[in-house]
Symmetry: C2
DNA sequence: TCATTTGTACTATTTGTAATAGTACAAGAA
DNA sequence: TTCTTGTACTATTACAAATAGTACAAATGA
């Protein structure tokens, strides 16, 4: 579990941990059932207070990314199925709009953005062979 | 300038203003040369401290979204050209990756995400006829 | 049974950022 | 000059993040 945490970043450390774990799972670096380090282990690895790690794990569990089993450890959760849900798709709308706004102010038009998006999607699909 | 600011949000008020203005410009609601309210005007409209508005305007000027002219007011800047810049495109990579990760954890696969993305792009192009 | 492991809970403290309040200044317009 | 408008500065309050330290709860495993 090599996480790059930047204590000087404006995004909170616990949030960086949440993001990093979600990223690793989405990339297939961790699969359901895999054990991740204990709160105390990761705290000493990263020289971060255990409370901060615990907070990150609690958020990850709330989001259904991991499951914790007392005295056994913490594990990557089974992936939720639930596709086709319209409500869920709407959760992505703000991110998509944000992307469009950012692109605009970088001087990147709709066509270029489409290309960049499709390129990124292809990269992801190459890396993950297990989806 | 009807901005919806939520003082209880976790994102700072000045950042909400920055986002709202960038959003309005990207949607074509404001065009280069348009005057936006003065610091004091917007402060009294939104009942927010002028210092907070000033901070937002300073950030917007740093990003090249607006230009301020002392004693005249603040205006939407000319849009920067600068397309085709590889470095700029790389700035969008984190947002694109983030989108992919969020979609994954919502149970939305690559194909569905592509569809959602293209739908969003079409909506934007319908709204803006002046790009 | 009993020690160990592991996540959880709690309080106190420090630090940094956001926001407000109030005042004052600088530069251009009228 | 007077007014407008953005800018700068200090002080203060409020809140979230992070650390530190301690203790507890539940399951494991010898």
């Amino acid at each position: 579990m090599h996480l790059n945490i930047d204590p000087r970043s404006s995004t909170p450390v616990y949030q960086q941990i949440v993001d990093a774990v979600k990223n690793a799972v989405a990339r297939g670096l961790y699969n359901p059932g895999d054990k991740i380090p204990t709160v105390r282990e990761m705290a000493s690895e990263l020289t971060i207070n255990p409370n901060t790690i615990a907070k990150a794990y609690q958020k990850l569990e709330q989001e259904g990314v991991i499951v914790t089993m007392r005295s056994r450890g913490t594990f990557i959760a089974e992936r939720k199925a639930s596709p086709g849900n319209e409500a869920l798709k709407k959760l992505l709308k703000p991110s998509l709009d944000r992307l469009r706004v950012d692109a605009f102010h970088l001087g990147i038009g709709p066509d270029e953005l489409k290309t960049l998006f499709l390129e990124t999607m292809e990269e992801w699909e190459k890396e993950r062979r297990d989806i």
